[in-house]
Symmetry: D2
Subunit: 220 residues, 4 copies
């Protein structure tokens, strides 16, 4: 697990800095640092991590292809043409793409997809709480979780103070309550999953993977 050589696209962004800080605690080496107006490389990375923007993707893909570097992509708002680039790249190197690298949220999704049916004769609802800077409500994650449940439940959204992000699914029948709650404490929630994904790519030759594939691999 030690000695990962990696690169970051979007190095000075909030996630870029968090990933660098977290990976450093393992002794990993950041050998490629790219940003909108800067590029610094000291060695060939085993994997490139891109949390920047869709507009940077073309160059990132080119870098990966030329040097046979795996890709972990956390950029949001991708369009179909971006996915095409990624699938093409995945014929040559491993690519992990996800809109949410939180391990906990991904485990929750699996639980809800599998277990919501056990609660078919219970009532259900969701409460999600985020800081006041968050503009959308319900959160994208809340809608994704409801979608995983395949059940149309009410979502209460609170926007308050500095809460980083909480999602609670509540089931209740006449005599019981079951609550399943995820709290992200900080961006660390995501960088842990990003490193899992980076290590995952080292075991693969090529292919297009989701975070759920990473999760399942880790169980073996």
């Amino acid at each position: 697990m030690i000695g990962l050589k990696y690169g970051i696209v979007g190095f000075r962004g909030k996630m870029g800095r968090e990933i660098f800080e977290y990976f450093s605690t393992f002794g990993d080496e950041c050998v490629l640092k790219k940003d909108v107006d800067s590029f610094e490389q000291t060695d060939t990375p085993q994997v490139i991590i891109d949390f920047s923007s869709p507009s940077a993707l073309e160059e990132t893909v080119k870098l990966c292809r030329e040097h046979k570097i795996a890709l972990v992509l956390g950029t949001t708002a991708l369009e179909e043409r971006h996915f095409e680039m990624l699938r093409e790249l995945a014929n040559e190197v491993p690519v992990v793409q996800s809109y949410n690298f939180s391990t906990g949220i991904n485990i929750l999704r699996k639980i809800l997809r599998e277990y919501t049916r056990y609660f078919s004769d219970w009532d259900a609802a969701m409460v999600e709480i985020h800081h006041t800077q968050k503009k959308d409500a319900p959160s994208g994650t809340a809608k994704m979780l409801r979608n995983d449940m395949n059940r149309d439940i009410p979502i209460s959204s609170l926007r308050i103070g500095g809460v980083f992000g909480e999602h609670t699914v509540i089931f209740s029948n006449a005599g019981e309550v079951v609550e399943i709650k995820h709290s992200a404490l900080s961006r660390r929630a995501f960088s842990i999953g990003v490193r899992h994904a980076a290590l995952f790519t080292l075991k693969k030759q090529k292919g297009f993977y989701s975070y759920e594939d990473v999760l399942n691999e880790n169980l073996r």
Copy 2:
């Protein structure tokens, strides 16, 4: 505290039965049992507890006045003419009237009245959860608590399963969260307060009292 002789108006109602069951655990004696179509009396009660309906109040007040019996009244939807009757009765015997005999809710009200101003630069919100039989939303208690806060905060209401009644006030600034939560577990939440109120009347000659008066008396 032992040996209270009391009467119940609305004896076969849900609160009537709960009060009877709870008071019995102390060895109290129910010497007057009145309901819409029944009346049974074995002795003169020290206090009458009425959780029936406004239409029964006139007879209850008459009973109390004739025999100098204290009154604890939990009936809701009282009108001004009912309050007039009560204030008149209170010139002769002690009367405790409240729409909510939960000790915890009454303590919460005091805390919120006094401490909301400490959170003036925090965000605030309320979440209240009740069973699906509850028709109104937000709950009367939620509105009362918001009124006590003297601050216009959003209230999220969930109606789900068999939750008896939960009210959570949440304050958050950029670095902290403070939550103050009350859960009523069953009607026992109210009968405890009713007995506090009944014992309170034994120490008084006359007067019109709220549950907060009972609360403050108990602190001495």
Copy 3:
């Protein structure tokens, strides 16, 4: 689902009365009421529900065998010889035996058995809260859940007021927290599961079943 004819052994016990009350809301008919010193029968039940004591089991089994009646058994502290009786009876009629008929707890057990491994690099702990009358700590359910997790986690037990029963499993890594919490609100938590089990027996010819079998059947 309407018109179940059932019997109760331990009719005047707390669970006996709760089961009677709950089943009545569906129009079910209690045609056999047995207790330590009483026996009342008006018809042959489709299923007998026994929440009494191990010492009553022999007679219950005899009743079931003679009249080909299914059995739902919630009695605790069974010994091997009791299980022998039950397995023998199960050759003739359906028998559902469980120490915990809470649907929610049984779903939680499945989730923990299957998903604890996904949290192998997370810390884990459990908090369980019960009323002050509960003598044992940790609760039997807490130990059962920990056993299902197949992981030696610390359990904090609180004994306080009238809390009916709460179990919370907490997982946390450096950036996230996942909490899975079950609250039993009242004995209704169990009677719901008992009725599921009773209806389950109607679909079976014979066999020895756990509550998990009932759970899985309900998914079809």
Copy 4:
């Protein structure tokens, strides 16, 4: 509120950097940056904030006295001789000293000091949760809160993952639960209080103050 000129002793410590980052969002100017082996000054600060160590206190006090600068002190493990220095300094300039600058914890302390007596016939307990790096259990804050309650309640301590710091006081009687919970989300919990204290010193001529004085002043 804008344009505060302040100094930091312990500038490169975790709290030093957090204070600098938070104050910068208000346009405050850090004109004195002192650390174990560095000193940088561009102007005379209105207030010095010291979150370093007791060994640095003598120099900090000297600085404050010479230039008539107020002091906000968050250093822990102070001894009596340090308090003597501070009280002497407080004859000349305003000094705010506290072991915990979280506004929420300080509000909680006040609530518990005043309201615990209302719960005298309820059970009470505390649960506190912190990350695994925290060595002491119960936390200093938990013991302080219990002391404020003036009641010997059990404290359950969980050390798990990355939870920054949660303290929950639970009261319960046979029918109700009241929970009062504080969660610190990050060091921001403290820097908000530090800035309140810094602004508080601007209104004072001299004197030795606690964080509770700051809290009360803010209410006027």
